[in-house]
């Protein structure tokens, strides 16, 4: 069994931002030499997500508005107890649970085994600094 580990560094400019990391995951799969296996991609931060969906700017705008409705940013200590610790990012911990921490993707014939529109995104909800994504590949 082969394994391969990559940690991506991402400079996230906005508080809430989605970055298409599919090409970098494809690079990791190619470098791994794995032909048949599984590829885990996860956020290493607890206010961020890795998710698979469409690379369409209107949809991403819709997601951001919707997540803001479901878990509004509110740095005050009233809405979120978490923000009584001096943090202001309780909303980001909630948004991340909606969008998920990780994806697991099949590798078949040496490539990500994707449907036609699947793309992998890093989704950050408390950004404006450098962030990390873990890629772990196992297989033969």
């Amino acid at each position: 069994m082969k394994s391969h580990t990559v940690k991506l560094l991402l400079d996230i400019q906005e508080r809430m931002e989605f970055v298409n990391i599919t090409p970098r995951v494809e690079d990791a799969v190619r470098d791994s030499g794995v032909r048949e296996g599984l590829c885990l991609v996860n956020a290493m931060h607890i206010t961020a997500s890795v998710f698979i969906n469409d690379d369409e700017p209107g949809l991403h705008r819709d997601y951001k508005r919707w997540l803001e409705e479901l878990a509004p940013f509110d740095p005050s200590p009233e809405r979120y107890h978490h923000n009584r610790t001096g943090e202001d990012n309780a909303d980001a911990h909630h948004k991340r649970q909606i969008m998920g921490r990780e994806v697991v993707v099949a590798i078949t014939d040496g490539r990500l085994d994707f449907g036609p529109w699947e793309q992998i995104f890093y989704g950050e909800f408390d950004g404006r600094r450098q962030k990390r994504v873990l890629i772990k590949i196992i297989g033969d």
Copy 2:
């Protein structure tokens, strides 16, 4: 390490529909010959989910109503920017994020290692056509 890949074809009659695919995943596990390993099951579409829960029609009815409240179907270009592209399925992209893209299930002694009520469902939110599910099994 063994690996086994199956793509299920499903004819989805309704816009929103849940299909119990557990027997077909069990078939794939048996065909794989894997005794100890992991089984990934994922939707190959970005308006659909694979999830594990109860096979109880009342619960499925509840899920559909709840998802419709959280992300209502609205083909107009006002509510969802995604629907300005000519699509009408922005709601389906949102519902899918709540229910998730994939499940990973342990294989122990050659079988899906499940709790008593766990069943695997394909959940479609923009159906009325043929859809695909990927099963990827790795192990020994």
Copy 3:
């Protein structure tokens, strides 16, 4: 390829309760002898979640209030069809879908390959009895 399977037993006192199971998952990883691989941790119940987030009591209080807003406990048969079966836990099946069933964590150099704040929780939404968590580790 090595594999290792552990089933944790948890005594859940409250209806909704989060338990940090990270030390027990770390024990399983050490016992497995796997240096490079994947670790699946999943709830064996369909009214419960395994999720990764911060071990901060204020945040957990926020999650509980938020999940109660998104899917309120209501044992009557009016709100949830599922509760016409004699159950009172339809809300728990909904809360579990928000928080997820499982996590998959990379194992690198014999340890869970975590970002600085990642901790693994069992989240129960219909507790007050003994519950089970499955840990499945594969790798070399």
